[in-house]
Symmetry: C2
Subunit: 456 residues, 2 copies
């Protein structure tokens, strides 16, 4: 499927002081940067100067990863984004939040607030949260099973979409003389009653500059793809090879069409870990150096969590032991498949596998000169594997600064990437329209719409 | 009980574009200010220039109040505070959040994040949320009963306190050479199992600059007072007369002592609505003008909600009809008592009562010249009715600007209020110590402390 070259999209995935496990061991690292708003403000400004579409934070409500060997834990990204919104002007701001451990009214409202504060730059990466450590912070023994989580997620998003539309855009009357502030007929209860949620509405925040925050999704399992095809406007994914990227891209665009949506209105962004050097040799040296600084005990624990099998005693210099079947995985099914396929395909020892996962936990590492990295980006973009990329610098801030300084200008010179923002909202950057308000649409179609205020 | 005069505390209670129902009807009002971060940034800066201890936002997860007659609804204050934190330097930042409609892990983490982002200036006003409109946004038909809500609140706060201590302050090793980032023995599971919550921990955010956010409480019912006496570090309250203020103050300080806490370490701040004028006559005129601009339909609905009885058809020019007994009130018991006492004591017609409630919903209105208002503040402060005040300007920003410009300097000249911040955290401003970490204390006492990391 040939891809019509146009503008590609770049999202900066910001994680602690770098995506690579070894980032903190470099002398340049800010050991407490993970919890320092100034660190993230700097990163947001660097990404904005380079005209990135957006910055993005992953999240999970648990201390995941072994802090003895690496800075883990994170600030609540929904509280961090507002602090970044007011020191930036154009860049989009995407935070992850879980549909399994939140209530839709609270989360719809929080993201609406961020969209208001940022003037229309908010995005929500919708996750269902794998892992028993999160479950056990919310009264459960084990994470709910995969299908159940996705069913709840679908209803959760349905409720949010209704709440975000519960105020029509033109609710304001503002007649000081007559004492009429708002048109009560344009603010609506939603009276949702579903399997998981009963929510009356309306939201207590007006419709936002973007209509609603951009909906992002990042799970690539069967359930995840169906969910993305139905709801997502941008998709983050982990793909190791161009062929896998193309297959995923084609599959997801097909599913999107099957839901009656325009495939072009959903942007697919594989993750890449750029390891840059002035020469290819220097870049390779940097890659090896990062691998050598990994602590195997950390990687084995992460790998155990990733594929749901106990591997902390595994022999580092032998192949990955048998680890069961994807259908039994309660957690991250697509990541399980990616990792076991990678190990099998390239016949990697456990140590080699840990090294491959140390930077991007399954995302593709692009190692080379800025020219080479730009080349690969262009290849994936023009060959139908990506609408853009989720850039995951191994070290932060230096890896993002280097990408902004050396790779972005090449992409701009090749006409692949913007040199100026054209719009003001995140939807503008991704080339997505502001959604219509369902209540206003129903009214325009001559239908009945129930109003909230008079019924109170 | 004579009060030793010292420094009083001032908190600016920021609500939409003013506490008075009529605020929006003034030509100066910003009709969309309620949802505009720039409006709140301006207010935060005004309060900080005047050396207020803190600013504060009320909250409830529902559209409360009839928007046809007044700007209601509000941004999520936990998402608004970070946007204010990064444009201010010293002022404390307090947000309300409900223990009935949140999970402790999420909320403990969000407030910890705000405390990190603000460098130790976060406060949490703990509420249990009255009202069926909120309940119906969370799958319930009716709000849980008063006692039940407070029992849940107590356990909720207990869980948060444990989570906030789950990282000891000196967890960081940061040995780049040996690859040891943190001391796993200093980060703890909490393994809480209670009636309402099971939470494993640890939190995924380090201990915060303040140890934990300042705990604020604002319910003055019997349950509310007991809760405040046990947990609160600052208490907001509504008191109509000096005598009532003194009785509440003495009662709460007694209860605090009964829990083995030092009464001086809990600050009591009654709400005041300052209506200022260059002369007393001008101030009275302003007060009448505000009352004349009230829309009775709005006030009757609010009053109905406040006292849990249907009054929208009440005769405005007759006394308040009989409305039952406080013990049957599921919602705001103390506010019910305050309003019915006020109406009875002063033999008010419904219209007069609405006018008295239009500014502060039961909080005391201080009308007069800046000298007179400062005089009343000093009287309450020195006569054992208050450690400070929760200032609720009828119009925003002008009412806050006027208070800052005209009343604060008088209080400063009289030696009652600071002219400069002495510390950097909200606890510093309120003269409260940073709490000890319970795990570190246990270790210091030679006890066993379970560590989180090795058990993973």
């Amino acid at each position: 499927m040939p891809h019509r070259p146009g503008k590609l999209h770049l999202n900066a995935f910001l994680m602690t002081i770098g995506h690579h496990e070894s980032a903190w061991r470099y002398p340049e690292s800010n050991l407490t940067g993970t919890w320092d708003v100034a660190h993230y403000q700097h990163l947001a400004r660097v990404a904005e100067r380079a005209k990135f579409d957006s910055i993005f934070f992953g999240d999970g409500p648990a201390l995941q990863g072994d802090i003895r060997y690496r800075p883990v834990g994170r600030l609540d990204p929904t509280a961090l984004l507002p602090a970044l919104a007011v020191v930036t002007e154009r860049i989009g701001l995407v935070a992850t939040a879980s549909t399994t451990y939140n209530e839709p009214y609270n989360l719809a409202r929080r993201f609406a607030t961020i969209d208001h504060i940022s003037g229309g730059r908010a995005g929500w990466n919708i996750v269902t949260t794998a892992g028993s450590d999160a479950a056990q912070n919310f009264g459960l023994d084990e994470v709910p099973e995969h299908r159940h989580r996705y069913e709840r997620a679908a209803e959760f998003v349905d409720v949010c979409l209704q709440l975000w539309d519960s105020w029509e855009d033109d609710f304001l009357i503002g007649d000081r003389e007559k004492g009429r502030f708002a048109d009560g007929d344009k603010i609506h209860r939603i009276d949702h009653e579903g399997r998981f949620f009963r929510v009356r509405g309306p939201l207590n925040v007006p419709r936002t500059p973007q209509g609603h925050p951009l909906l992002v999704q990042a799970g690539s399992s069967e359930d995840g793809r169906e969910f993305a095809a139905q709801y997502a406007e941008a998709v983050f994914t982990a793909q190791q090879t161009l062929a896998e990227g193309q297959a995923f891209y084609a599959d997801l665009k097909r599913r999107i069409a099957a839901f009656g949506r325009k495939p072009g209105l959903v942007k697919i962004l594989p993750g890449i870990v750029p390891v840059l050097g002035g020469t290819e040799e220097e870049a390779r040296r940097r890659e090896s150096e990062l691998a050598e600084l990994q602590v195997p005990a950390y990687g084995l624990k992460q790998l155990s969590g990733l594929i749901g099998a106990e591997l902390t005693e595994a022999d580092l210099d032998r192949p990955l032991p048998p680890v069961g079947d994807v259908t039994a995985v309660r957690g991250m099914q697509s990541r399980f498949a990616l990792v076991t396929d990678l190990a099998r395909r390239e016949n990697l020892t456990v140590r080699q596998l840990l090294s491959r996962l140390g930077g991007g936990r399954g995302h593709r590492t692009f190692t080379g000169t800025p020219e080479q990295v730009a080349e690969t980006i262009e290849e994936w973009f023009t060959q139908g594997a990506a609408d853009g990329f989720n850039v995951m610098p191994p070290l932060l801030p230096s890896g993002l600064e280097a990408f902004a300084e050396h790779v972005v200008p090449i992409l701009q010179r090749r006409g692949l990437f913007r040199t100026e923002y054209e719009g003001t909202t995140l939807r503008d950057h991704y080339g997505l329209p502001r959604p219509e308000n369902r209540f206003a649409a129903r009214r325009a179609a001559g239908g009945q719409v129930a109003a909230a205020a008079p019924a109170r």
